[in-house]
Subunit: 351 residues, 3 copies
């Protein structure tokens, strides 16, 4: 029986609502085992011979490469597709037909699709492992899992536990699917304090707040960055998608919501960790996470994206039932790999 089972009893990851504390812990255990592969100290070939269909019916270079590289690092091969127009879906083929046809070719499927619910529809028509790589305004569960994994790792670096921690989510909390999925996962833990900071018109929807209020967690909401973040452990920033604002919403917007070095130094405690799902808009006129923190060890955004590899490797391994073969299959890497992947890195993937 697989650790990751959808509501239809298949080895598929469609939503974070499938996850329990037990399945999260087991998944992260395998991610830990796979970290030496992700950090390129070890080679793993446990899926040699397997083929992934990495179907991105909506463009996303980073997520597509992250899934593809994770599958390759398990020894498998990847067939990619990018964009909607090249698909026979454009000729009127149903999602169910596409799903069943592709299922005859490959061993696992990652699907990103612009429409909410399309991935679930696709998954119903196949018995193969499927991972939801993002279904429009719906979910993107592997992102939420790598975010949670990063939070746990970053807290443990300073000896803290996720239970009882204080986490701020900042930015567009209304439309951002990553924060919706993340806060649901976080509500599996106990004694958390959430500080939600968003312009009034972009605050977290109340149906999400209802889901995560488990009686044990505290939720506070604000519309400016201020003394309210004084004792937070993690600040998770998202891009303010100004282009989405309607006239009324725009009035509520405040540049005080931009996370930058001045703010962090002034309002946060020294051990605070800054996260962001990326991409961020680094252009001067964008009010996104500032680049002035790029050389600061508190900025965890690239450790966060690096964690996409062990998490996605663990997902494939668990969904395909090879998780217990990993450890014995590892062998040393033969090529040279830098100790730090980027010139501003402060920690390696192993730390």
């Amino acid at each position: 029986m697989s650790l990751l089972i959808s509501s239809e009893n298949k080895p598929q990851l469609l939503s974070v609502s499938q996850m329990t504390l037990e399945s999260v812990n087991a998944l992260f255990h395998y991610a830990d085992i796979l970290k030496p592969v992700a950090s390129r100290k070890k080679v793993c070939r446990v899926l040699e011979g397997a083929v992934l269909a990495n179907l991105f019916f909506e463009a996303s270079t980073r997520t597509r490469i992250s899934f593809g590289a994770a599958f390759c690092r398990l020894g498998g091969a990847v067939c990619d597709t990018t964009g909607f127009t090249t698909s026979s879906m454009a000729k009127g083929e149903s999602i169910a037909d596409t799903s069943r046809v592709i299922s005859g070719y490959v061993d696992a499927i990652v699907l990103r699709h612009p429409e909410k619910g399309a991935v679930a529809e696709f998954a119903r028509a196949t018995n193969l492992p499927v991972i939801n790589g993002g279904d429009g305004p719906g979910e993107h569960p592997s992102q939420a899992l790598l975010d949670l994994y990063t939070i746990i790792k970053e807290l443990s670096r300073s000896g803290k536990d996720i239970n009882g921690s204080h986490i701020a989510l900042v930015g567009d909390l209304k439309y951002g699917r990553t924060v919706h999925s993340l806060i649901k996962l976080l509500s599996l833990y106990k004694g958390l304090k959430f500080t939600l900071i968003a312009p009034k018109a972009l605050q977290m929807p109340s149906y999400i707040l209802d889901e995560v209020s488990n009686g044990d967690n505290i939720i506070e909401q604000f519309s400016v960055l201020d003394n309210n973040v004084r004792d937070i452990d993690i600040v998770y920033a998202t891009r303010i998608q100004k282009e989405r604002f309607s006239a009324g919403e725009d009035d509520n917007y405040s540049p005080e919501l931009q996370l930058n070095k001045r703010f962090i130094d002034k309002y946060c405690k020294p051990s605070v960790i800054v996260m962001h799902p990326l991409p961020r808009d680094s252009r001067a006129e964008a009010f996104d996470l500032s680049t002035d923190l790029d050389n600061d060890p508190r900025l965890a955004i690239f450790r966060q994206t690096d964690n996409g590899i062990p998490i996605r490797m663990a997902l494939f391994a668990v969904l395909m039932g090879v998780e217990s073969n990993i450890q014995s299959s590892l062998r040393d890497t033969t090529w040279k790999t830098p100790h730090f992947m980027g010139p501003n890195d402060h920690f390696t993937l192993h730390e």
Copy 2:
């Protein structure tokens, strides 16, 4: 000497007219040997180190992935290209130059091109194995081979032989290249009865009928679905491409040509098998093969598309001269694979 030799004496599959009964039988023998790989019970690495250029100068997700996955399942690696504009052909490069340049990089080439004859032109400029993956209104021989393979397998499931069988081709028989190639291949066999059912304006061109009339087969033509299919063994449906109809053609069109459960139950014998090259247009307004047969064991469309993998693996193995190494190279799959690929499957790839 390879089993598959083009008219230029190269290991290339450009047209079904290259095929003899002997080469078809040999190819299908290797497809049978490769079925355990296609059904993911076995792993084959006989082409480890080889590289395929999977060149789709016309978009086709399913065919591209089918060729790519087949090559990966033999242990090879795949370099894909999709679409015409990204090619240096757009800068005035000749097909011959493109062919010879790519030949310096890879070990085998699959080419789809929107222009009839372009694949043959490409193949003349290289000595490498080339498979015609579809040249516009020309040919798509691997589709015809997997269709034939499916017909033989489906007939044998009910103890029948292809010689002497009764096969109906339904739909657009004028423009559909798949039925043109398929009927040519079928004419290699003896005592077949073909029932061709198409709107008057979309009937099978007479030059094709001339080619397949080998004195031993019977050909009947109709313009409606009716009692004429009472004793058929296989109904092969194709999409009625209504958008192609000119004003006059449209008048001849009849919704009676749509294959659906009501029709099959009313007119066909219980053991009939329904095929379709896919994609089908599943939208309500399209007069394509109905989805109301999806859970019916007589519907073989997904078994048909599944057969693309063993057929394309066999093609690569034969063209690259490794067909006799396959059997001894097989090893067990290490990951878990579902018994049935789709929830509506009635048979596995092995049955």
Copy 3:
């Protein structure tokens, strides 16, 4: 310490100006060792488990496949991306962010980008091996290296040394980045005579001439093809990009600059070698290298493009520090490979 080190002391190939005679010789030594793999006599799996990000933010089928196939032939796996619009760069992500994110996923990166300097900017943000696959009007160093390798091999076929040889560069010498990089590399050698033939408005920029005038080489400039090529050893032609001409430039253009069989036979010595970076425009109205030499052994254009594989394999091997593991890792190819890749080939990759 790697043989190929950028000015920032990283294992990256950004510009031919990094190369010394020693590093060129060492690289070509490994290319020689890898020739049996490039010619498909041997299989090499020294990078099994490694992943390449083959990032083409500007389309180029041939170069992308050449890099991808070279990496696959070392045993690695490739994640491709093609085109700018599918990138999160379009959402305002900085090149530095893209670089650091991708660096968490893969082991090496090839980048083509339409803007000069973009590859260097990308390379600064990562410690991974990076190869400049072309940065707009900037550089494309692997092309220059494979050109130089070809020149040395072609000269040695007739017992000549590159030192003291006579090389003509013909065509658009003003905008053609390949000839700029090539002439810089050639100036590492002694006693060369360069004959530069271009329309007056498209002559080699003087800042390049200054760089390559090392006091030991002779440089002559002409605007027509004529007796000036009487004793040349190599003619390197480039496409005259007529579409780029401004009104004044057009007047200077002469069809006498087209290299064709009549010209070669009339003006050149029998052992002359004709090269071209490809693609060439083979349409009748284009004044590019003529196709009437295609069956002539003096035409080295496909031997030149074939050399892209051993050169790019050697670059990956050296940048990733596995160059000394290659020789012992070679094993025989199991599939059949033609002796000559193209029907007009006169020599094999080994000759």
